[in-house]
Amino acid sequence: MSSGTYGLLAAAALALSGSAAWAANGDTLKAVQERGNLLCTGHDGSYLGFAEVDDKGEWQGIDIELCRAVATAIFGDPTKLTIIPISWAQRWPALQSGEVDMVIKASGATLSRDTELGLQFSLSYYLGTTKIMAHKELELTSLKDADGGTVCIPAGTTQQQQIASYGAKLGITLEPVIIEKTEELEQAYFSGRCDLYTQWGPVLAIARAAKGNPDEHVILPDVLAVEPEVIVMRPGDDNWIDIANWTLSALWFAEQEGITSANVDEIKANPPSPDVAKFLGGSPGMGASLGLSDDWAYNVIKNVGNYAEIFDRTLGADSPYKMDREMTALWNNGGVLYPYVID
């Protein structure tokens, strides 16, 4: 996502300290357990649906719920979590200096983050697509019909290149209107200054649902780019990456098996299969090798819910944004998410 000039400064700070100086290398799990809470990322303000603040000043959103899930996996208690508000540019220095234990902040897996900054990624928990919204009265069915139209683009982001190259591929010309601040950008689109508005998918869908009249706008089927969002961690701690991956996997496994926070006790009492019994800690083997208790997955599902519950609460049907799962559905619903096998 956008970071601008201060991203450069942050990268410089990283380079300055050298990749050898990963301050808190070593056993993150042990450090977290000794401290008694997990340090996870928030936002410097609100990032709708991913990290926002409710009426009581509590953090909500899908990224926050995943932090909660990891904290529950470790401690069996979702409140043993401290959310540190940080800006986009601060993500990697904060991770490096040990200010946070993991970054769950709508962060894409990219080549430079992986190889140059030396960061470690989990499985992808969300697939963010770059899409285009159009005024319905223009009666567009795809971007191909929009030749000569004006398009609102957030300044300094990858969307600028994406729409240019996608337009060139279709052989159409678009008139760009480039604006820095999201509020102004959306004001420009909704007031009719632009015919089209290109943006990272969730932001676009939320803008349509929450800021305009949803019936007056359509999101075109064109997908300009896909960005897998991942949990980002310090290098050199394989067990910590396993914990992140298995927490995500547990959320998906529970969804696949139909285990929810409401029926988890019932299913634990009468597990339908040996792998579900093991998953919920009825038979040993789920936790010891990760350094967690055997019923960690039970605790996660009981306290936080499975992936579908989390998604519905934060972005989907039970949220104000009413987003579809689309690609971020499980494999058996036409999506790309799948749990690891529990053997």
Partner: protein, 363 residues
């Protein structure tokens, strides 16, 4: 002889307001037209603003977001529903009275130190040390049965006030030290401090804050590591001190050289000369610029948003940044502007009062 020249009378009565208005705004037809147009425009802007903010606005604190969005005017419901986030940020809901009390303590401390009765070194120091200690105890807790609340949860107005007050508390004494060192007779010190002040002033505050929050932890040894909030305050204080030192130096240059020399010839020592003769007069000269610097520093606290602090602007962003209220950002920003206005306007009125008070006895 009779006087044949026409009688001239001089109007002794001052012209009435009607004449005044006519003479100033409607002397010729063209100027009259311009005046009427200007007045019309002003009236229209005022009316639009009032209509948005008052007449067509939704004042019902319980209105649903849908009815609020459909209204033509402002939706003040968002303030009624989310004011706690703007004022207290992420501070735990059931402990927010502590944050409110802490704000009151800061305001009381500033008001007390503005009262002439408290202008004695010891009293001022007592007020500030007690006030800051009380603020810290209230916000952080961990003692007297108050639950511990980490700095990452501080936010809103309380955080903005804390950053401002701490910046001034560290920065102001530092600026006096810098200004005195810059006047040192040892060239190494005066040139060195001059270079330091110029270096700090030639960097943008934003990058100083960023460097203190992000880069400094990699350079400091472990035992010097402090919380991010305190590092950022140090950065802001350094920036404040560099500017304020130049303002004070300007004030010192306005004090006639002869005064210092006269004091020297009377055998008055350095500290006495500085504290009783030079600084009081320098402060009086520097007062308008100093108030200006305070006002600027108060507004610049909003820059800490780049290093992830929930000061009042970030809290405002979080207040409208939820599915129901995304459309109501204007109202939230208007509310925040009002808070800033109250603080900055009182500061500058106080500065004007000080100038009047200090002018007594000069010239």
């Amino acid at each position: 002889m009779t006087d044949t020249s026409p009688k001239r009378t001089i109007a002794n009565t001052p012209p009435g307001w009607f004449d005044n208005v006519r003479r100033r705004y409607f002397p010729t037809p063209i100027q009259s037209v311009i005046s009427i147009l200007g007045l019309g425009l002003l009236g229209w802007i005022l009316w639009t603003l009032l209509n948005w903010a008052v007449f067509s606005a939704v004042w019902d604190g319980q209105a649903s977001p849908e009815t609020c969005r459909a209204a033509a005017g402002a939706c003040w419901t968002v303030i009624a529903q989310r004011w706690r986030i703007i004022l207290f940020g992420l501070y735990p809901f059931d402990q927010q009275w502590r944050s409110a009390l802490a704000c009151v303590v800061v305001v009381a401390m500033v008001v007390l130190s503005c009262v002439p009765a408290f202008w004695a070194g010891r009293r001022l120091a007592a007020v500030w040390v007690l006030g800051t200690g009380l603020f810290y105890l209230l916000m952080k807790g961990g003692l007297l049965g108050l639950p511990l609340i980490g700095e990452e949860k501080w936010g809103g107005l309380a955080l903005t006030l804390f950053i401002f007050v701490a910046t001034c508390l560290i920065g102001f004494p530092l600026s006096i030290v810098l200004a005195l060192l810059r006047r040192s007779e040892l060239p190494v010190i005066s040139k060195g401090i001059g270079l330091f002040i110029d270096a700090v002033r030639s960097l943008p505050l934003l990058s100083i804050l960023f460097a203190f929050a992000v880069v400094v932890p990699f350079m400091l040894p472990g035992w010097l590591q402090t919380g991010k909030l305190y590092r950022v305050i140090c950065g802001a204080a350094l920036f404040f001190a560099a500017y304020q030192a130049e303002i004070i130096r300007g004030g010192m240059q306005g004090v006639a050289l002869g005064q210092d020399e006269a004091a020297k010839s009377l055998g008055i020592g350095y500290w006495h000369r500085i504290s009783r003769i030079i600084l009081p007069q320098a402060m009086r000269n520097a007062l308008p610029a100093t108030i200006n610097q305070f006002v600027i520093s108060f507004k610049e606290t909003s820059l800490v948003i780049v290093v992830g602090f929930f000061e009042i602007l970030a809290s405002g962003n979080a207040a409208y940044g939820t599915g129901d209220w995304t459309f109501a950002y204007r109202e939230v920003y208007a509310f925040i502007a009002l808070i800033y206005f109250v603080f900055v306007f009182s500061l500058s009125r106080y500065g004007a009062y000080l100038e009047r008070r200090m002018a007594v006895g000069t010239f």
